[in-house]
């Protein structure tokens, strides 16, 4: 794998739950250029699910007119992932990031979305503006099989 290689893509789609699976596949297919292990891909898919579900359910409250944007960049063996919406935004980001915190307990969601993203990725950063939208910026190094040999 060429360490200096760069690549990028941007994906936008309607905030519909049908597109969650599509978004997972798109990001995973893009990152598969770095030759991740099967498990690294599964982790990334989970992270994409959590972030996209949040935009659809919380950001747009299920309004399919909303648009979710995912940007992915590859630089060497580092993947940068940004998941954004122009939805309602988060009033208190620090509170929202607490494990088990959820503003929709009626949906039986676990409140673990942000915790999962934070744990599965190397870097994780939330920017949000009430009424303006939310942006999640994450990075992960794809160690592939290199680390498995030493």
């Amino acid at each position: 794998m060429n360490q200096t290689e760069r690549n990028f893509m941007t994906l936008q789609f309607a905030a519909k739950s049908e597109n969650e699976s599509f978004a997972r596949v798109t990001v995973a297919a893009f990152v598969s250029q770095l030759d991740p292990t099967m498990d690294e891909i599964t982790d990334l898919k989970t992270v994409v699910s959590e972030a996209v579900t949040n935009s659809i359910i919380h950001g747009y409250d299920g309004d399919p007119e909303g648009v979710v944007t995912i940007s992915a960049a590859i630089e060497g063996d580092i993947v940068t992932l940004i998941v954004e919406d122009k939805g309602r935004g988060i009033e208190d980001v620090e509170l929202a990031k607490q494990p088990l915190f959820t503003s929709k307990p009626e949906l039986e969601r676990s409140g673990m979305g942000f915790t999962i993203m934070e744990n599965f990725m190397d870097e994780f950063d939330v920017t949000s503006e009430l009424g303006g939208g939310t942006s999640i910026r994450m990075k992960k190094r794809i160690v592939s099989k290199k680390a498995l040999y030493n």
């Binding site: 969650e20 099967m38 891909i41 989970t46 579900t53 676990s110 592939s144 099989k145 498995l148």
Partner: protein
């Protein structure tokens, strides 16, 4: 030859959803096989090469195993 043509045609009319499920099963089997053989997790490319498809196709097929919408569902299933 007519037989083969009919077979090929039938295969073409196969639904993508079913074809993906079959590929997903092959991917899972190959992943297990390679894990034992290599004594580590295979990469997406290694599985793809063994199956003669692209890494992107492997990732797409994997999705057909209908993974839960989010991890909560796995945990609380």
């Amino acid at each position: 030859i007519g037989e083969i043509q009919r077979f090929l045609r039938d295969d073409g009319t196969l639904k993508v959803s079913r074809s993906l499920k079959e590929m997903a099963n092959k991917v899972r089997k190959k992943k297990d096989e390679l894990s034992k053989l290599l004594n580590r997790l295979p990469t997406v490319k290694e599985v793809a090469e063994e199956l003669g498809v692209t890494p992107e196709d492997v990732v797409f097929a994997q999705e057909a195993n209908k993974p839960p919408a989010s991890i909560h569902e796995t945990v609380f299933e």
